[in-house]
Each structure stands twice: as C-alpha cells, then as structure tokens.
Amino acid sequence: MDAKLHVSSSPHFRGSNSTRRIMLDVIIALCPAAIASCVIFGWRSLMLIAICVASCVLLEYVARKIMKRDTTVGDLSAIVTGLLLALNLPVDVNPLIAVFGCVIAIIVVKQMFGGIGMNFVNPALAARIVLLVSFPSAMMHWVPALGAPEDAIIDATTAATPLAAAPGTYSYVDLLIGRCGGSIGEVCAVALIAGGVYLVIRRVISPIIPCVYLATSALMSLVVGLDPLYQLLSGGMLLGAIFMATDYTTSPVTRWGKVIYAVGCGFFTIMLRAFSNMPEGVSFSILLMNILVPLIERITVPRTLGYIKKKKGDSK
C-alpha cells in the first residue's frame, strides 16, 4: 500500500498529537495518585493496579482478535481504563471481582460498542457501578489508611469514608494528603490535583469541565447546607471531575455543551450525596450526563460562519 501519490481531503497539516500520546499523558497524570495509593494502602494497591491493567490489556487484545478487528492495544487506552478502574476500587477487594470489572469495562462497554471512541459511557465508570451494584458489601469495605484519625476507625479492619464519617472526624489536611478511607485512587487530593494541572498544561483536557464541575458542586453544597470544601476534597469528586468526566468520547465537544454537562454532573453529585441513600454520587451523576451528551451536543451546535439566524415570522 505504499502509494507514491496520497489523495486525501483537507486538512493536510497534522499536529503531532496521537491517541497514544494523549493516553500516555493521562497515564503520567495518574501516576501521582497511583504512587500515593501505594504509600497509603501498601503493596496490595500496587497489586490491584497491576491486575486491572494487565487484565484490561489482555481482554482488549483477545476481544479484538475474536471480533477479527485490528489490535488496538498499542494506543494505551486499555491501560488507562485499567488504571482508572483500579483507582476506583477499595484496596482489599477480591482480585476476581476486579477482573470481572475489567470484563465489563473492556468487553461489554467498550468493544461491544465498537472499541475506542465508540463507547457511550466511560468504561471504567460503568464497570465501577456494575461492581457497586453487584457486590455492595465488598465494594463498600474500606480499610483504614496510613495515619487515619482514631475516630474514623470502626474496628480493626474497617474505617469510615469521609462522606460517611461523623463531621469533624477528618480535617482538611487529612483529606488533602489522603489520611482517610476510600477507593485507592480517590483519597489523596493533592496527587489528583497535580495530575489535573499536568493535563491542563499539556492541553490534554480543557479546564472547563473540571472547573465548572467543582464550582457547581461547591455552590450546590452551599445551597443544601453542606461544607463546600469538605465536599470537594472527599470521595471521588476530584478523581471524577479531572479524569472521568473529561473522557473525550463521552463528553461534549462544544464549549457550551461542556458547561451544561459539567453543571449537570456537579448538580446531580451533590443531590445524590445529600438526598440519596448512598454516600457517593459522583459515578452515577457522570454516567447519567454521559448518556445525555448526544442531546447536549444537539442543542449546542455552534453557529456556522456567516449564517444569519432567521427572525420569527420571517417567510423565506
């Protein structure tokens, strides 16, 4: 196929960005959170990350082979999915449950809908919710983190997450450096913010979605009478806002679409946290907004250059 003459449509200038490069940036941005999880929860979280990444890559390879499509392991997207899924799990979860989550993420959500760029919701997030619904006790079992405050520890093996703990149990500093219970990747706020700043500087993600998401959440917390800063730093809020909600495939491309999408995410997160019977609402709100993305994009189609809006009552 090495033709001498290339016939293609414009644009003819291409940037050096590739899927692989973007995914590599996301992996680099997730590294601080992954390292922090190993420090906070020990070697078991490293093992969990390894299991998830390995099974996601393997499943992606096998699924593409079975479906007789090109192998897409090289674009590193399966590694990102595996890493994100692992960071969303509690550290002492059964490895088989983690592998089941990978099957849901890669086979059901991603490859059954056509592979990278075709999935209608974020694979890691959908897998997390399937696991949460399927294995509620295993997925809500939080071990005490390194240096967690005494009050938060319920017994020898479990500790309350910031969202479930009594007010005043955790200080802001505890939340910032991850001295609290929770999924392995969501506890250390500083590491997540560092990753987010890296992604924005590298222009991998636009800051609109995370900023609007967090701002809406803070505002909604004030409205329903919760401590805004505490809400932003606890639970999966930062992980969700920076890494999950900004997934290219499942977030709007238009600027106003992004704003509407992020406002919706923030609104539903706080409403679910405040009024539902579950302590956390980040995953459900992002999943819901993921599904609404096609509709949001339809109402925010930008005006074509030179197109004049027809006045009402104007005949042709």
């Binding site: 089941f100 059901v108 399937v130 619904v133 399927s134 294995f135 509620p136």
Partner: protein, 231 residues
C-alpha cells in the same frame, strides 16, 4: 403435505419466529418475571395455556366477529381465559401467584397473545391456530426459561431455589442485568437464524444513497467489471 404444514406451524414459534427473541414481543413480562427459573416456567405455562385456548376460540369465531370490533372482541375472549388461569394458579400454586404478582393478570394485554390472534387465529382454521399457539407458547416458555436460568444462576447463585454457587453477582437479578441477558439471547437467536437461513445478498450498491433511483445500476456493473478484470 398437510401434516408437514401443521408441523411447521408448531415449530416456527420455537426458534425461527420466537416471539420473545425474534419478534421481540412480550418484553415486559420477559424482563420482569425472569429473576428465577421457577417464576419463568410459571409465567410461560400460564401464558401458553391462555394462548392456546384464545387462539382456538378466536379461530372458531373468526367468521362471526365483525371486522371493525375485532380487537375488543379478542381482548374479551383473552381476558376470560386469563381469569380462568388466574383462578387456577391462585388455587393450586399460590406461591407462583405471589411471585408473579401483577404480571399474571397482565397476560390479558400481553402482545404475543393479541398478536397471534390478530396475525394468525383470525385468519386460519382451528387446528393450525391451536398448533400456532402451542408453538409460540413453547417458544415463549423456552426463552423465559433460558433467561430465568441464567439470571438466577448468576444473580443469586441458585437454580430452582437450590443454592449451588457461592458467588452472587447481584446485578443479574436487577433490571440492568435483565436487559443485558435479554440482549445477549437476542444476539444468539439472530446468529442461529442467520446461519440456518440463506445469506442476505449484498451488492456493491448497498451503501449507495442513489441505489433506488439508479436505473442502470452502474456501480454494480463496474463492480462486475472490476471482478472480471481482477480475474
């Protein structure tokens, strides 16, 4: 020949025109009651009984019922049989009555039954109508049983109430798991049917928006030439 035709009326409902998996009728009871295998059988048998009886009666009355009011007439007949079945289930299988709940009386508006009355029993003699109802009923029961077994096995780790697996993946007995299993079974049925039937002919004009208006079918011609040249 007549024998063969009758047999075909019976077998078509099981795989080729399976009411749930190919015609996608009766989805609501399918998703709602298949949380366990015994529920699925109960629902399947009840619906089959109603289907066979209503098909027979509607077929007998097909020349008496005026065309304009046929739907209310069919519904009345079906509702009569559903009441009978409901009373029988209440009397002899109260456990199944409890677990099926509202879905038992709702067999009245099950679109499989009304669909067969409208499409088949209203136009055909009694014997084929009974066999058609029986085949459709068996197909419905088989599909429900498949779903019930898969969902019960994975979702509560048991089979007909007997605990056999230590792991329970709760999502399979919840609505999302139901839709997932339903989709997988439809995929399987499609696969089986396309393999059994003849292949769909594809032409190079398939993707072309002008294919319908194109009198000369030039693209087809060029494709033929291309293959000739390639040879």
């Amino acid at each position: 020949m007549a024998q063969k035709g009758l047999l075909k009326e019976f077998t078509k409902g099981i795989v080729k025109e399976n009411p749930v998996l190919c015609l996608v009728l009766g989805t609501c009871p399918t998703l709602a009651v298949t949380t366990s295998a015994s529920n699925a059988i109960g629902m399947g048998v009840a619906a089959t009984a109603v289907l066979v009886c209503s098909n027979a009666v509607i077929s007998l009355l097909r020349k008496v019922i005026p065309d304009k009011v046929r739907i209310p007439a069919y519904i009345t007949i079906i509702a009569g049989f559903v009441s009978v079945v409901q009373m029988l289930v209440k009397a002899f299988a109260p456990a199944i009555n409890d677990s099926l709940g509202i879905y038992l009386p709702l067999i009245v508006v099950n679109c499989i039954i009304l669909g067969r009355a409208e499409m088949f029993a209203g136009k055909n003699p009694v014997l084929p109508s009974i066999l058609d109802g029986l085949g459709m009923g068996v197909g419905f029961t088989a599909a429900l049983l498949c779903m019930g077994i898969i969902r019960e096995l994975l979702g509560s780790g048991s089979l007909f109430g007997m605990q056999i697996m230590p792991v329970q993946i709760l999502i399979f007995i919840l609505p999302p798991g139901g839709f997932f299993v339903f989709g997988m079974l439809i995929m399987l049925a499609n696969k089986l049917n396309t393999r059994a039937g003849k292949k769909v002919k594809t032409t190079p004009c398939d993707g072309c928006p002008m294919a319908d208006n194109c009198a000369e079918k030039t693209c087809e011609k060029t494709a033929k030439e291309a293959t000739l040249n390639a040879d």
